[in-house]
Symmetry: C2
Subunit: 113 residues, 2 copies
């Protein structure tokens, strides 16, 4: 068993590297705070494996969020809109940490960011 | 008073967007876990402001880390080295959340990533 966190970012917003990093960090923290505490401990101790994936539309992100949230600790991040994107725009989701094989069933068709 | 977290990334490693996002998320979590708990609560409630900055060498990153760690909750992230960079390579640092004005004194000369 290996735990990982998945972060899924909208590529269609064409955010810069720093913006993506800030949004992904936000997703990572919020998902972690929703996850099972003992899973988080184990995940941190084993190096906090993360995979960062992309989708190409808001629709794709929101549909994925709806499916994932039935099964996993998931956080949908909406930007404060200070820079680059509109206020309240959904930018990314964070999932887990959860068992890698379980999450793979949902995200295996997504490409790495 | 406004709290923010700063994430400082090495630009000289030429990491891809997804790699940067994963390293920044790692830094963000580890710095948050070292920070004052009431500061973290306040920072989360007010939108988790983050600024993502860059340095151009390992030397610059490590010198900054040494200076910052005397004053702030700071995490130095070393990559597991599965992809793109050497195992154990220092990739970024996370600071705080801390008072924005205090951190600005240390990072005001750095450019946004």
């Amino acid at each position: 068993m290996e735990l990982e966190q998945a972060i899924i970012v909208r590529a269609d917003l064409h955010m810069g590297k720093g913006k993506i990093a800030a949004q992904a960090a936000h997703a990572s923290i919020e998902a972690m705070l929703k996850a099972d505490k003992s899973d988080v401990e184990e995940w941190r101790a084993s190096g906090m494996k993360k995979v960062v994936l992309k989708v190409s539309s808001k629709k794709e992100l929101l549909e994925l969020f709806e499916r994932l949230k039935k099964k996993f600790p998931v956080a949908l991040i909406k930007d404060a809109g200070r820079t680059q994107v509109e206020p309240g725009e959904a930018t990314c989701i964070g999932i887990g940490p959860v068992e890698e094989k379980e999450i793979d069933l949902f995200v295996k068709d997504l490409k790495l960011l």
